[in-house]
Assembly symmetry: C2
Homo-oligomer: 496 residues x 2
């Protein structure tokens, strides 16, 4: 039994990259799969997609996934459609092939079993008429990789019932996808049309020698592509229109439709009627959000995409990395004069939106993160660098203690200091104090015991002599400072 | 003095949304700005962009930003260009207006001062001939919002020197942007051409009543837009080609160029020469990465964008949120039978890529995060919900202690248990144990003192009676369990 009501077993017709992606979506959501593909290589191919999907979905989803469904390869479309709750067809894009599969499978499937077709552009009206119960065919067009991409375009043909559309959308939604119901069937539906227009323009540029594939892709991923990941073209342009919105944007940029800004020049006439329609639809989309709110949502989303891409070292994330490295270097050249007789002021951050929790202030775990980053700055300060790590040595945290004193809000700038409490040849006990910059208020303290390790043997060993010397020099100064009140505490211990 | 060598002061011509964005980029990087805009509203408009930029850049950048530069409004293009190291022009898109500004400003600027123009499509050759030292004009086309978007298209005209192109790219790079050097000047350059092609196709759909603005935007942001945020159209299609890459993709999809999949039908002829060029450029772009490596980079980047967008509650992030909520509910309906006589097993995660640090395993701060999430699950378990929070009550962490025992790697599934150590009417001391799922190895433990607070008065107060009862019931069972060895420790304390 799958955890999704009414969806215990599905039939899949076709097991290529797309069919394999569907298999992964269903199986990892606990649904059993019966798959027909005449290709003898299909089990290997589906297995490869499943491996990718398991790896990616485990990273994506932190909620508990159900036990995987069972995958069975069957030898006919009839066998795939027998005893199932839903069928998804993902055969190559040849009309007669799809018709044949749908005809055979629909002859044996229960009369209420809805069929989704993964076609990226063939019309459902032309596919459904060969079927037993043609009213249950819906296009459910997914995107590669199917196990991660949310979009499914849901399109009915002339004979498709409303119930079938609703059921298909419900199935895709249950798999964690985003069904978008389209009212009209056209070749290529919506997303492929947009991709195709961009692709044709890009091909012209290669053809004309204007730019290379890399340059064109860079112009997408460092530019409009970043915005397209959370808002499409209409919302982007509405914001470009400022206070006055879409009508203003069109007044400014409508004339450019006549300009030679694309090789693809067959453009719609910008009639009053089209303009009114566009403005009204844009208003619906904005749903009452004013320009400032839209700008802030856009900016917050851009920041989040940057941070996400930095965590995997790709695209715009690398631009940010480079920038921060330079800022850090500039700061250390121009002003970083660390006073060795005081707790070392080594780290500074602004509280990002995602650090704030349901209590409206910075989450407790982010103080640990801030303290951990501060300890990293301390380790760099005493000589831990890439060469030292590559030599098979590092410092591991073995024990930590934190006290939470005050609260930080989004956008607050915080700084942290490090005091060495004690050390020997392979251990150093440090104390960090986290302050709000604008009033120097103490918000939290942390104490960490660090152990120097041989990372190849995974056991403690003495630090390099010059690193021991650097720590000793700091410890000498810090020995003259008072021990912080929160050092050495156990949780809940009475204050002395 | 700005921290950027050779860039202490710049002149800006135009202070609208784009000019204001440039002002923010320069000022927040410590560069002084002299800005000319005849609009009496310019100071207000630039101030609004600056407010947005300060807010966004502080969230984006955790490295220390330099002291802000000084903004001065001046009353002529000559005054803006006097004594500066660089000039950026961002006037409205009228050739004669831009020519006039460039002519006047270039007559007074030092001979080596490079000029960037923000034009989104006018040709530099037609702008530069009116200038004193025309060889120093470069198009530097940015994207909105200029203070966040990395892309700047760098395009020279017929008379532009290589030195000027290099200098402009260097300036943009210093501001944390991504200059892309284009070899050929064409109307609209590269990015606007691609946006325009997509936009014209989208307008056709509105015109034909095929889909609405919201539906079209959804088909971008839940679909291809997600991929475009870190790879463009060529790399996307190379991956779609599988092992055999670009040539295979074109063999499969080249014919669709003849299909009516776009209203924009003036397509290039797919000659052998064009195909060879495309394949060669695609190989350069892949830089030796095979299909599996490209697929994994794509998947990791998609996951990171999802997580980023979830943190700000936008687009694909909301799809993930909904999906996880359902998975969690399904899990609690189907199997969550928490044994009350044992430490409560309430939370489970898979270690994402961004939780792993330079030591190759899960960063210490992520154990605190995991423990904190586990405590949140415990609080929900005892009845903390949105209504309780809205009533002005919550639990705050006041003290924590952690011990690090083992190491987790990316993709490991971890689970955590909660044991109640002690409690009274406004305090509960809990102990979490974090384990690797596949071998039940203990990786870390944490102890937290939680205080029940009136969030309006910001002071401690007793928990609601039914919540106290829920805690007492658990504490009764847990009182029979042995106290964990790491409970009650101070950092570095000898083991007894």
């Amino acid at each position: 039994m799958s955890p999704i009501p009414g969806l215990d077993r599905v039939g899949l017709l076709g097991g290529g990259v797309i069919g394999g992606g569907w298999a992964a979506r269903f199986l990892l959501n606990g649904v059993d799969v019966q798959l027909f593909d005449p290709d003898p290589e299909a089990p290997r191919k589906v297995g490869e997609v499943l491996d990718n999907a398991r790896r990616a979905l485990l990273k994506l989803v932190s909620a508990p996934l159900p036990a995987e469904g069972t995958l069975t390869f069957v030898d006919s479309p009839e066998a795939a459609a027998t005893g199932v709750d839903f069928v998804q067809e993902s055969a190559p894009e040849r009309m007669e092939l799809k018709q044949q599969l749908l005809q055979r499978a629909s002859a044996v499937a229960g009369p209420d079993v809805v069929f989704g077709s993964s076609t990226s552009g063939l019309l459902p009206t032309e596919m459904q008429h060969v079927m037993t119960h043609p009213e249950r065919l819906v296009v459910g067009h997914p995107f590669n990789p199917v196990y991660l991409m949310p979009l499914v375009e849901v399109v009915g043909g002339e004979r498709t019932s409303a119930a079938a559309r609703t059921r298909a959308a419900e199935v895709y939604d249950q798999l964690g996808m985003q069904p978008v119901q389209l009212s009209t069937e056209i070749d290529g539906f919506v997303a492929d049309r947009l991709m195709e227009a961009l692709w044709r323009e890009a091909l012209w540029m290669i053809n004309d020698g204007v730019a290379t594939a890399s340059e064109i892709d860079d112009c997408v991923r460092f530019g409009p592509g970043l915005r397209w990941s959370f808002m499409g073209t209409f919302l982007t342009y509405r914001i470009a229109g400022g206070e006055a919105g879409m009508r203003h944007f069109m007044a400014q940029f409508g004339p450019s439709l006549k300009w030679p800004w694309s090789k693809l020049t067959d453009v719609p006439e910008l009639t009053d009627e089209l303009l009114d329609t566009l403005v009204a639809q844009s208003d619906v989309q904005a749903a009452g959000r004013g320009i400032r709110e839209l700008e802030r949502q856009r900016d917050d989303s851009l920041v989040a995409v940057f941070h996400g891409l930095r965590s995997v070292g790709n695209g715009a994330g690398l631009v940010l990395d480079r920038y921060e490295q330079r800022l850090t270097e500039q700061a250390s050249v121009s002003s970083r004069q660390v006073d060795p007789t005081q707790p070392l002021r080594l780290h500074e951050v602004a509280v990002p939106a995602e650090w704030v929790d349901y209590n409206g202030h910075m989450n407790d775990s982010r103080y640990f993160q801030l303290s951990s980053e501060t300890v990293d700055a301390f380790l760099r300060h005493i000589g831990l660098d890439d060469a030292y790590l590559a030599g098979g040595h590092s410092w591991f945290t073995v024990e930590s203690h934190l006290n939470f004193v005050g609260q930080a809000r989004q956008g607050d700038r915080l700084y942290a200091t490090v005091q060495v409490l004690s050390s020997d040849d392979k251990r150093v006990r440090v104390f960090t104090a986290m302050h709000r910059a604008h009033d120097d208020a103490l918000l939290a303290t942390a104490e960490h015991m660090l152990l120097h390790v041989d990372t190849r043997l995974d056991k403690a060993c003495p630090a390099a002599p010059e690193m021991q010397a650097a720590i000793a020099a700091i410890a000498h100064h810090h020995g003259a400072l008072p021990t912080p009140g929160n050092a050495g505490r156990a949780v809940g211990q009475q204050r002395s």
